[in-house]
């Protein structure tokens, strides 16, 4: 996500960086480009207008024109203005209240409320050791309650049953009592999708809210949303005292302008990003990083943080040392890397965050998808240690044996070997730059900082 906006803005900004002097015409032209870039990224028009006029005012004012490096100054201006809209640091879910702390989920149809409910539950259970209850107030969508029930089972949340003959406000009220009785720390209340123009349905969610007075009310919005984000966000914000936003489906190639729109219009912080269908695909949102990312600096911080949490540090360190020493990247390394990537939700989400990596051919990115990864690991498992270290020896009869051993076809073995050699080439290229450095950084950080507590705001390298 965000790539296209990034590219577009960085191109404009790059042109500026080269310029020694910036004229008024230059500023106007740049702002025109920025306006188009933001609109192409699906930022809502009213938000774009506010943004542009704020930047224009400052740019035409004293500083920029007088500045010795006006290009830099302009970049900073756009960056600062983006940060101003997005907020400065991550705002976590606020659970500081008398338990059970109620969290209400609201949003349009299909935005991802039910899935996000399960993701949040999982996060709170696993990372904050909370006892979490979930309940569905969706009496309209077929099998909605069943969906939440299944997900609750998967993530180990207490599921409070409800039926379609109950009123949503009653369901929620009873759930609070039940959560208290069962000593739950948090109660997550899922609601039916609704359109902001459906007055009865909006009245209904207000009733649910009034019945339980939730500590957090999260507006769940699809990252692919276009201009309508402005209408829906303001209507939900008017109807409910929202406390935060969750932006879902950020794992695609949407430009994600909705994040800016919703944040600006509601004034409420984006607290989480949903980045996949599985229940672990939820990340805290770091607005400052997004501003940097939009301008093309890459979201290195959150990558480091994620890698830090999930990567086996010894493994990473070993790999880094090896690459640094210029030694080959063998199949054993390939396997351990795939295993780690699996832990992190696939290569796609990793690559996404590295600066300059968005240019990696899609072909390479997509080669490491889940199912294939599992198959590839199985194939490597069927090799001897010697074969893993020296893949060149794998020919005819060995291939057949490996294919049989892993329950695959020879073609799959061939594909793996080809991909490995591609990766090998890529690793070589990155050896001195990105990946090795990153991995080393992770190694260094180990023991110095508790996971998830990296100092925000600054790029570490």
């Amino acid at each position: 996500m965000f790539e296209n906006l990034t590219e577009r803005l960085s191109r404009t900004v790059q042109q500026l960086r080269g310029k020694g002097r910036l004229t008024e015409d230059g500023i106007r032209e740049t702002l025109r480009e920025v306006r188009i870039a933001l609109l192409e990224a699906d930022v809502a028009l009213p938000v774009v207008q506010t943004f542009i006029s704020a930047v224009r005012e400052k740019a035409l004012g004293q500083e920029i024109l007088k500045s010795l490096t006006p290009g830099q100054a302009m970049v900073k201006l756009v960056h600062d203005e983006l940060v101003k809209i997005m907020g400065v640091e991550n705002e976590a879910l606020d659970l500081k209240a008398q338990p059970p702390v109620a969290v209400l989920m609201a949003g349009l149809q299909g935005s991802g409320k039910t899935t996000t409910t399960a993701k949040l539950a999982r996060r709170l259970i696993e990372q904050e050791k909370k006892r979490v209850m979930v309940v569905s107030c969706d009496i309209y969508r077929p099998a909605a309650i069943e969906q939440l029930k299944t997900l609750a089972g998967q993530v180990g949340a207490v599921f409070q049953p409800s039926t379609v003959s109950q009123k949503p406000a009653d369901i929620a009220r009873e759930a609070v009592a039940e959560a208290r009785r069962q000593m739950c720390d948090v109660l997550l209340v899922d609601s039916a999708g609704r359109l902001h123009v459906d007055e009865e349905m909006m009245a209904e969610i207000r009733e649910v809210h009034a019945a339980i007075n939730p500590h957090e009310t999260l507006f769940v919005v699809d990252a692919m949303t276009g201009q309508d984000a402005a209408n829906t966000a303001s209507a939900f914000n008017d109807a409910l005292p929202l406390t935060g936003i969750v932006l879902t489906k950020t794992d695609g190639d949407a430009r994600g302008g909705a994040a800016l729109s919703v944040r600006h219009i509601t004034g409420k912080p984006v607290k989480f990003l949903g980045s996949g269908e599985k229940t672990d695909a939820l990340q805290p949102f770091h607005p400052e990083r997004v501003a940097s990312r939009i301008l093309g600096m890459g979201d290195v911080l959150s990558l480091v943080e994620e890698v830090h949490r999930k990567v086996d540090h010894q493994e990473a360190e070993k790999l880094v040392k090896k690459i640094r020493r210029g030694r080959g990247f063998d199949l054993e390394d390939f396997k351990s890397q795939m295993e780690q990537m699996q832990n992190m939700g696939g290569l796609g989400s990793l690559v996404d965050k590295l600066p300059g990596m968005s240019n990696l051919p899609d072909q390479v990115k997509s080669q490491v998808d889940d199912r294939q990864t599992r198959q590839m690991i199985a194939i490597i498992n069927s090799m001897t240690p010697h074969e893993r270290r020296f893949p060149d020896v794998i020919r005819g009869s060995r291939k057949k044996r490996i294919a049989m051993g892993s329950g695959t076809q020879i073609q799959a073995v061939n594909r793996l070997l080809k991909q490995h050699s591609q990766m090998q080439r890529m690793m070589k290229k990155m050896g001195k730059g990105g990946m090795a450095k990153m991995m080393r950084k992770v190694g260094n950080l180990q023991g110095q900082l508790p996971p998830g507590k990296l100092p925000g705001g600054k790029m570490p390298f």
């Binding site: 188009i36 699906d42 695609g252 269908e277």
Partner: protein, 330 residues
């Protein structure tokens, strides 16, 4: 023998497993009112710039640009349209304010009209297979429920295949639509192979001489390579039973989607060759302008619009009223 999809008869189904939304319970149709309200509001804003003015001014052109951009038509397209308009004005092809909106509407209509092609169920194909694809939460399963009811009302026998074997309770959701319409649903458990479920369904539909088989699939982002491959595999597997199947591959797009919908259409088209599009959730304030970009680039027929969550809330796509909702003339 071709049968054209007939207009909706507004027959509310007997629903036991879910509640009707308040709007549906009340019997009146507030939807019409709401759609009309949204259109009117825009129309008023534009209209205000027309009344009592004898010359075309910048305000009007700006308002047109704004109206187009906020419909998700895309900023470049909007700028281009307004540029054309300016050219028309300076060439004195357009001289009066009241000519302006019709001129833009005509341009929009010309672009989208060729895509107005009703879905024709060829009764020579038994079954006529409809393959539903799209990103997560777009409205595939609901649209299947709506289609199923309408085909049934048209006197066709229908079967559904629960090809979404991934998402929690996706199978139950489709089954519930099947039960409501008293239509058989072929399903296996969550986690089963989607292609296998659809293969079974096609076999069974053939054996039972079913007219229409509609296959649901799990929502997937078009950037997920392996999941797009899975769709291709489903296509191949269907082809083993009937080389012509599927007869319709329909992309479901959420009207709220911004420019990403063009990527969706492009990628799904490349993977499985789209033959139709349904745009859902047009009952909100989203106007689905991104369809113009899709029409321009890919020209895929647009079959239906979804205007609500009930089975009756599906209408054949009508280019004229669609254009008038994008840029209304009051």
């Amino acid at each position: 023998m071709l049968r054209i999809f007939r207009k909706n008869k507004n027959k509310p189904g007997a629903v036991q497993d879910v509640q009707l939304r308040p709007a549906e319970q009340s019997g009146l149709d507030p939807l019409e009112q709401r759609l009309e309200d949204t259109r009117r509001q825009l129309g008023k804003r534009l209209g205000a710039l027309l009344t009592g003015r004898s010359s075309i001014d910048e305000d009007l052109l700006d308002e047109i640009e704004t109206t187009l951009i906020t419909s998700d038509i895309g900023v470049q397209a909007a700028l281009e349209i307004v540029e054309n308009l300016r050219a028309g004005i300076s060439n004195r092809v357009i001289t009066e304010p009241k000519q302006v909106l019709p001129a833009v509407q005509a341009e929009l209509f010309e672009l989208i009209e060729p895509c107005e092609q009703f879905l024709a169920v060829d009764e020579g194909k038994k079954p006529f297979v409809i393959f539903m694809v799209g990103v997560n939460g777009a409205g595939k399963t609901t649209t299947i429920g709506k289609l199923a009811q309408r085909f049934k009302e048209d006197g066709l026998s229908v079967m559904l295949a629960a090809g979404d074997t991934f998402r929690a309770a996706a199978v139950e959701q489709l089954k519930s639509w099947g039960e409501r319409n008293d239509i058989p649903v072929v399903a296996q458990n969550t986690g089963a192979d989607s292609a296998a479920v659809i293969f079974d369904a096609l076999q069974s539909a053939k054996a039972r001489n079913i007219d229409v088989l509609i296959a649901d699939t799990a929502g997937r982002l078009h950037t997920q390579h392996n999941l797009m491959e899975e769709l291709k595999k489903i296509n191949r597997v269907m082809g083993r039973i009937d080389p012509e199947a599927p007869h319709e591959t329909m992309l479901v797009v959420d009207a709220g989607t911004g420019q990403n919908a063009v990527n969706q259409a492009r990628e799904f088209n490349q993977a499985v060759g789209l033959t139709g599009i349904t745009i859902t959730k047009l009952d909100g304030t989203a106007r689905g302008g991104v369809l113009f970009g899709i029409a321009h680039e890919l020209g895929i027929p647009i079959r239906f619009i979804g205007v609500g969550e009930a089975a009756k809330d599906l209408r054949p796509f009508d280019a004229g009223s669609f254009v008038n909702a994008i840029l209304p003339i009051d």
